[in-house]
């Protein structure tokens, strides 16, 4: 009955209108695949209790709307999404996973996303998190990349209560590539944690990390990034950057980069910054008649741009740039037609 009701209102509640012509949509509620299974052509989607398996084929474009609500009997809810990237790099698939909460109650969820990128295959995954300001959400993302495989993952956290995203990425076989990015926007009492562990097991792989945060209000963010290059992983390239922009002097960002390198023929770098908007830039813009508010906004958008520009799917990138702008302007940011009231 509960289920039916949700399916009933699903058109109203979940009709996210990202204008993505060829996107196939699937809805998940509290870990259960609600609809979409039949519509998805060329993608294998299997739902078994709390585990959903997605196997991508060539050039799939999939939008998964992952909604959680505080159903009294389902406290400590978990969900599990398994993604098998099975399309060759040249014809790689894009998956956008939109993470929402229903209502404004406090509850917590543990999520698990397992990604396997097969030999010579590719995947672009974008996780957009726009959730209510009180709930707890822990997401563990485990990644395995096989020979010559390539994964691009960007996590855009627009809003949330206490979010922890943990990424464990293993470059399992040679020539693997892993490009990880994240943009976290925090405000009020929010806490956003990002833990990244990249393990280069074998040589010839490339990993990149670019995580950026804009912190307002009383919010706190933590970044813990680790790169481990195994002794046999020669000719590895591994880069990591974490940059934080403080908008409020009460916000607090911490950044802990770690590089553990056992091989000698490698190119690695890491850098972490925590800063504020530059006075000189602000004065320059204001001297041209750009108000202080707009000048700060332009600076924040520019700061966020480096992550958003990494998104390859053009219509998705533009959509997210728009959402980020509205979020930074403090406007409500649910996608048009959506009534999840996540913020």
């Amino acid at each position: 009955m509960d289920k039916l009701k949700i399916i009933d209102i699903d058109k109203e509640i979940f009709s996210c209108s990202v204008p993505l012509e060829n996107a196939q949509k699937a809805y998940i509620l509290n870990g259960v695949l609600m609809s979409g299974k039949e519509d998805i052509r060329g993608v294998q989607m299997v739902s078994e209790k709390k585990s959903i398996t997605i196997e991508t084929k060539e050039n799939n474009f999939l939008q998964i709307i992952n909604v959680r609500e505080n159903a009294v009997l389902r406290r400590g809810e978990e969900y599990c999404i398994e993604i098998k990237a099975n399309a060759l790099k040249e014809e790689k698939s894009t998956i956008v996973l939109c993470s929402h909460t229903l209502g404004d109650e406090r509850f917590s969820t543990k999520g698990k996303i397992n990604i396997v990128v097969e030999k010579e295959c590719g995947l672009e995954l974008i996780i957009m998190q726009n959730e209510n300001g009180v709930s707890v959400h822990n997401v563990d993302i485990d990644i395995e990349i096989k020979y010559g495989g390539s994964l691009k993952l960007n996590i855009i956290t627009l809003h949330g209560g206490h979010i922890t995203n943990t990424i464990n990425s293993v470059l399992l076989e040679e020539q693997a590539e892993c490009d990880l990015g994240g943009l976290y926007l925090s405000d009020r009492e929010q806490v956003i944690n990002t833990n990244v562990n990249v393990l280069h097991k074998v040589g010839g792989g490339i990993s990149r990390q670019l995580f950026k945060g804009i912190l307002d209000g009383n919010s706190k963010t933590n970044f813990n990034g680790k790169i481990v290059v195994s002794p046999q992983a020669q000719k590895t390239e591994a880069y990591q950057a974490n940059n934080n922009l403080l908008i409020s002097d009460r916000a607090k960002a911490t950044s802990n980069p770690h590089l553990i390198i056992y091989a000698d023929d490698v190119k690695c770098s890491h850098g972490a910054t925590i800063g504020t908007i530059g006075d000189e830039e602000l004065f320059y813009m204001r001297s041209r008649g750009i108000s202080l508010y707009e000048a700060k906004l332009l600076q924040q958008q520019a700061f966020a741009g480096a992550v958003l520009e990494k998104i390859e799917k053009k219509e998705l990138k533009e959509r997210l740039i728009g959402l980020v702008e509205r979020r930074l302007r403090g406007e409500s940011i649910h996608c048009q037609g959506c009534s999840t009231r996540c913020c």
Binding site: F283, S287, R288, G289, I290, S291, Q299, Q301
Partner: protein, 253 residues
């Protein structure tokens, strides 16, 4: 002609250091003033104070500014953006680089904020583009610059041309150009000077800050001032610039 700007006994400091020590200066519509002086005499400080840079603290004096409509403002009470809206423009000696903000986005925001203040609608993308192309042509700036980050990776000359382009876009009634000539080769100097000359009308005014006579061959001033240790020590006609060129500053200090 009406007074555009009236500076009276202006004192300003940065930290505990007094840099401007009693400046008096009146600028009328249609005039071009040159302010000359050695490095460190306070030229950039004066322009920064006029534009509203909050790092400088005004301890004494007043600045009155009258806009095109005849409204008189107490400039010192206005924010930098309000001064810009009223018609004050500063061409920076060291234009600031803003990575990630494209030139086009930057100027479009600025132009539209100016329009908003005048109760006008924002320009459409096509209207803006047309205006931008016209004004870029004035300083022979390639349109490809519009998609680059503001001043990011621009050469010295390109940065100065970008300042003049911005001035052309905003059409101020008082433009202060702080050493727009420094770092320019002769060709770039001519381009910048031509830009200024084309924008000159009987209603606006320019303050050209320089320590060389060179620029003044192209932009001919009506009045030349010498600034020394935070004070204007001499004011005369354009022949003063030539005199400085020949005799150096010592004579006047």
């Amino acid at each position: 002609m009406k007074n555009l700007l009236e500076i009276k006994d202006l004192h300003a400091k940065i930290g505990d250091k007094e840099i401007l020590k009693g400046i008096n200066l009146t600028i009328k519509q249609g005039e071009v003033h040159a302010i000359m002086g050695r490095n460190g005499s306070g030229k950039s400080t004066l322009s920064a104070v006029l534009a509203g840079n909050e790092n400088y603290i005004v301890t004494q004096g007043s600045i009155q500014f009258t806009d095109q409509k005849g409204t008189t403002y107490n400039l010192l009470e206005m924010s930098p953006e309000e001064r810009s809206w009223a018609g004050v423009f500063l061409g920076f000696q060291y234009p600031v680089e803003i990575p990630g903000v494209t030139n086009v986005n930057f100027m479009k925001t600025a132009v539209n904020e100016h329009r908003k203040q005048r109760g006008l609608e924002a320009l459409s993308a096509a209207e803006y583009l047309k205006m931008m192309r016209e004004k870029m042509a004035i300083v022979q700036m390639d349109p490809s610059f519009s998609s680059r980050g503001v001043n990011v990776g621009f050469s010295g000359g390109e940065k100065k041309r970008n300042e003049i382009f911005q001035m052309a876009m905003l059409n101020p009634s008082l433009a202060i150009l702080d050493e727009t000539d420094s770092g320019l080769d002769v060709d770039a100097l001519r381009i910048v000077a031509n830009g200024v000359n084309r924008l000159k009308t009987k209603d606006n005014a320019f303050v050209v800050i320089t320590h060389y006579q060179r620029l003044l061959d192209y932009i001919v001033p009506d009045i030349v001032h010498i600034l020394y240790k935070g004070k204007i020590v001499k004011t005369a006609g354009k022949e003063l610039a030539l005199e400085i060129e020949q005799k150096g500053y010592d004579e006047f200090e």
